[in-house]
């Protein structure tokens, strides 16, 4: 869902040559196990390559800091962050990892288009950092060749 949201973002800005399928069709390419097992993030490149045949997508898996996330957002590049949602909401670690699309920030919050909460959901920064650290401060960038020429990706 997060990767679809990012691709839609690029599509709306004219950076994607492929016409995106419906969300249901998109989800099908991830196979039927995604509902119970989640998806293996490192396979994202393979899945997306199949969907966006006309575009050269670049999927980067990184580890960073809040500052690096904010730098991407200032450059108008949405970021998929991976964190422990149970830790964020209830202060208890869980084995499952939640993905959300960060789209902005304020001094107190990271703003996310979130699969659970919808648009611009504010994740309080301190708690987010704690939950994010449990997943090694990992995040994913999905960009296209055209995007890379338009925006710098390095923070």
């Amino acid at each position: 869902m997060c990767s679809y949201a990012v691709l839609r973002y690029w599509e709306r800005r004219g950076f994607l040559r492929t016409a995106l399928p419906s969300y249901d069709a998109f989800k099908k390419t991830f196979g039927r196990y995604v509902d119970l097992l989640g998806f293996p993030p490192n396979k994202l490149n393979d899945y997306l390559r199949d969907i966006c045949k006309k575009d050269r997508l670049k999927v980067q898996h990184r580890e960073g800091s809040i500052e690096s996330l904010q730098a991407h957002l200032r450059n108008k590049i949405p970021v998929i962050s991976l964190f422990d949602y149970n830790m964020y909401q209830r202060g208890q670690p869980a084995r499952s990892t939640h993905a959300t699309v960060l789209v902005g920030y304020t001094p107190e919050n990271m703003l996310a288009n979130d699969p659970f909460h919808g648009k611009k959901y504010p994740y309080e920064k301190n708690r987010f950092q704690e939950a994010w650290a449990l997943r090694n401060n990992r995040y994913i960038l999905i960009t296209t060749k055209v995007t890379l020429n338009s925006f710098p990706t390095e923070p």
Binding site: G31, G38, P40, A94, R95, F116
Partner: protein, 312 residues
């Protein structure tokens, strides 16, 4: 944590990230000296989000399903020597979920047997049983029909069931009300309708599987499934949540193998019966918003804890 164990865990995390899925994490690695491999359990938490229409809150919880497979990592080079397939992991998760679902269903059948006994559709389907009980109570004896006759086979099946339940006793070619049936009848001051409900309650509570599998009476199943889907969510939320009709439908179809037009066609009627004044397993608290019964939930919670409820 010893450094090597930490490195094994990190390797397992890398494999999970690369090949398996975001709901999985490594458990504690165990070293097998004879094979020089580390066995790492793959533990899975299944996230669930419930939109509670009563409080307006999104309830998030995880089902801790425990180990769903194992990874084997070589001791010398820390390379994976055996990685399970996603299809096998998925099967293991489905099996665990089915086990939980069966437990919740079974608890619900035990807890709410009287409410199920009051369902009009069930009474209709089990009318041979009702006729049998009514007759033996009225005439004190009932001559058994010819066992070779197809027409009477269902009556004979019910005779067998009620004898097993010690509600009837056989005497030669007749059956009579047993002490237990007479006692039930007296407890409700000879009210035949209430006696029949209590007999049905007893049958549902103790012989639900027999009625379903042997007598092929499946009418009760969707009612159990729909209410079970609701109470499964309420149990995981630890609260009497209010679900929208769509969310309840989703819970029902997700837990019980998908959409079917026939089910959808009957869904409104199932809900109507489940919310009937004398059943009240579900209540429509506002248009299209459904809430369960507190007493049923509390009883279920006690039973759920006993079999080791998994949500947190």
């Amino acid at each position: 944590m010893p450094v090597l164990v930490q490195r094994v865990k990190e390797k397992a995390e890398e494999i999970i990230y690369n090949k398996l899925g975001t709901n999985i994490a490594p458990g504690e690695p165990e070293f097998v000296p004879s094979k020089k491999v580390w066995i790492v359990p793959l533990e899975l938490d299944l996230p669930r989000v419930i939109d509670d229409r009563r409080t307006g809150n999104l309830n998030y919880m995880v089902f801790r399903l425990g180990s769903v497979g194992t990874l084997k990592i070589d001791d010398r080079f820390l390379k994976a020597v055996e990685t399970p397939k996603r299809t096998d992991l998925n099967d293991a998760v489905e099996e665990k979920l089915a086990h939980i679902r069966e437990k919740v269903e079974s608890l619900l059948v035990q807890t709410a047997s009287l409410q199920f006994a009051r369902l009009v559709s069930l009474k209709h389907m089990m009318s041979p049983l009702e006729s049998l009980v009514t007759t033996v109570l009225k005439r004190d004896t009932y001559p058994l029909p010819d066992k070779h006759s197809t027409t009477w086979r269902s009556v004979l099946n019910y005779v067998e069931l009620l004898v097993k339940q010690e509600l009837l006793v056989r005497e030669g070619d007749t059956v009579k009300p047993a002490g237990l049936l007479q006692q039930i009848h007296q407890t409700v001051n000879g009210d035949i309708n209430r006696t029949l409900e209590l007999v049905l309650k007893d049958v549902i509570e103790k012989e639900y599987e027999t009625v379903y599998h042997d007598y092929k009476i499946k009418i009760l199943h969707p009612y159990v499934q729909i209410s079970s889907a609701y109470y499964d969510y309420a149990l995981s939320a630890h609260d009497l949540i209010a679900l929208s009709e769509e969310d309840l439908w989703d819970a029902y179809t997700n837990q019980y193998s998908g959409f079917s037009k026939k089910r959808w066609f009957r869904f409104d009627n199932y809900l109507r019966e489940l919310s009937d004044g004398r059943v009240k397993l579900l209540n429509e608290v506002e248009t299209g918003v459904w809430e369960g019964d507190r007493e049923v939930l509390e009883k279920l919670q006690r039973g759920y804890e006993n079999f080791g409820g998994l949500a947190s």
